[in-house]
């Protein structure tokens, strides 16, 4: 197993460098170059020349790339001329908010989807199964901004149960102390994940139920429920870990839409705003940090999977 872990870690590092290279290339594709991106569209040619000199943009490309990697590794992500702040500062405020939203949504999705999947297996091919499957498909196909808007319309404006926006408090504690405000955003963000996870649970468990070892357990006289929960469920859950890792990227993407709809000042909103203002340092900084988070998340999922799956644990390194 250690061999596996080491391999994965090295892979992650390589991937991160790859992403950095990609961002470096992009910056150099912008017309006007980095100077215009940082100083803004109304910068004078004199200011641009000065910026280039100060930031070593007249150095050879390889040299620039190495400096760029060095800066990124130290989380010096540049400065947003538009918001007059360091990108790192901006991200430091926005990242925790997104982490809360994504974290709660993921946990909520898993907690709802697994029992839902099991329930569908227990009631397979009965009306309940079809209804839930149907609802899953529809939720999966509905654009997130539509779902979010409808939720706001129905439950925050027409019937005033929840507030119309996500908690606006500047600190993490502040956000968490306004749980009502988190309900609708979490529902919106977890909808797609619940839909796909429960579908997966259902089909995975159905598949497991036909496996040999389940038949053996039944033949040995195990009660159906024991078979279901102990054997089938345990085996079906293992791949959920992998699925979680893979879904992380999607959930974070979904956060972009959810944050926009609910005016929640997280990474997604920051990225969208920067895109609009062509504030490339901030946009790329956001993308970079979010990517690192996703890679770490994936790594964590892989480690968890390795711990849980005996085949890996006892595999030759």
């Amino acid at each position: 197993m250690t061999g596996f872990l080491v391999r994965r870690l090295l892979q992650a590092v390589v991937v991160i460098i790859g992403v950095m290279a990609f961002m470096f290339i992009l910056i150099h594709l912008i017309p006007g170059g980095e100077a215009r991106a940082v100083l803004g569209p109304r910068a004078q040619p004199v200011a641009i020349a000065q910026f280039n000199k100060e930031n070593g943009l007249d150095l050879p490309l390889w040299d620039q790339f190495v400096r760029y990697l060095w800066n990124l590794a130290h989380f010096q992500l540049g400065r947003s001329y538009y918001l007059n702040q360091n990108v790192t500062q901006l991200i430091a405020t926005a990242l925790p908010k997104t982490l809360i939203l994504v974290g709660i949504s993921t946990v909520f999705a898993v907690v709802v989807a697994i029992p839902l999947g099991v329930y569908q297996v227990v009631r397979r091919n009965k009306p309940e199964d079809y209804i839930i499957t149907g609802a899953s498909f529809i939720l999966y196909a509905m654009p997130a901004f539509l779902l979010g808007t409808l939720l706001i319309l129905w439950f925050a404006i027409d019937i005033k149960i929840f507030p119309t926006e996500a908690p606006q408090a500047p600190t993490v504690l502040g956000v968490l102390s306004d749980p009502l405000g988190l309900v609708l955003p979490v529902l919106t963000l977890s909808a797609i994940t619940i839909a796909s996870f429960s579908r997966y649970m259902r089909s995975s468990m159905m598949e497991t139920m036909t496996e040999d070892f389940v038949r053996t357990a039944r033949a040995k006289g195990a009660a159906p429920r024991r078979v279901l929960y102990v054997h089938a469920l345990r085996n079906a859950i293992i791949p959920i870990v992998t699925l979680l890792g893979l879904s992380l990227g999607t959930i974070v993407s979904g956060a972009v839409i959810t944050e926009s709809v609910f005016n929640y000042p997280g990474m997604g909103l920051l990225a969208v705003n920067s895109a609009f203002r062509e504030d490339l340092p901030t946009l790329l900084g956001c993308t970079f940090v979010v990517t690192i988070a996703t890679i770490l998340g994936n790594l964590l999922a892989d480690i968890l999977y390795a711990v849980v799956d005996p085949r890996i644990r006892y595999a030759k390194s």
């Binding site: 895109a275 994936n298 595999a315």
Partner: protein, 332 residues
Amino acid sequence: MQNPEDLVRATQQEQDGAIAGETGPLEDLDALSKELGGGPSGGDVVSHGGLGRRILSVFFENKLAVAGVVVIVAFLLFCYVGPLVYHTNQTSASQALFSPDNAPPGNGHPLGTDSSGFDILGRLMYAGQISLLVGFAAAAIASVFGALYGAISGFFGSWLDPVLMRIVDAFLSIPVLFLAIVLATVFRPSLTVFILVIAFVSWLIPARLIRGQALSLRQREYVQAVRVMGGSRTRIVLRHIIPNSIGTIIVNATFNIADAILLLAALGFIGLGVPAPQTDWGSMLSNGVNYALDGYWWEIYPAGLCIVLVVVAFNFIGDALRDALEVRLQQR
């Protein structure tokens, strides 16, 4: 998100180093004989009489899949034949200036008009053309490119495989919408750029999946035999690996189309959508959502319904195709 099962399997293949065999000895002999005979071999190995028919029958047994196909065909007719039957002005904004805007259904406008005065029913057809076009084109490009990439990576192996796959990993780590936003910001938007951007975020999964297939096929004896006979690697990739993966490619492409439509809608919502005067269902929906609080339901639900129906239909079809694929795999 793509079909989870295949993805999980492909990822686990990565991790376990385990290689699952996907074709049986019958197919191997078939392929070998074709190779020896020198005859055309690009086709799907299974298009041999009974098996092909069995797959189709499994597919059509699935009522949901049939419904899906019906829905897609209906929408294609609606979008492309509809305008020939139901003429409305969808391009001249100055003409639309003179019709009432935000009008509820009635008075010659069965679904009302939008904020510019365009008839909504007609606009759904017009927008549908763009949504479906972008969906199909992006999925097609992504599938072709991804399949080739994955096949080459999996088959050639050695140092090429890890490098190519790490590149895929790098792009896969960047959450889809962020990647799309970055690309749409750096490259000035136009319809072609959109198709390419969406294709770019979509080719990664097919690449992973086909690479897995290629890995397993590489081990097959008949492939080794072809090598011994002097068949070039390109020939093997094009004539054996790709055709054997067609099933996976198609299933994946189906889900890709649905995701492309949703991604285009999300980009439209953010404001990085199809540039005017063209529009797609997603832009119609995000414009309509502006009026959610004003009660102009006809600007929201019809477009939303179109998206949901088409995406669900493609998902049904994809699911059924995948089940049918399992049938083929179970033929040993």
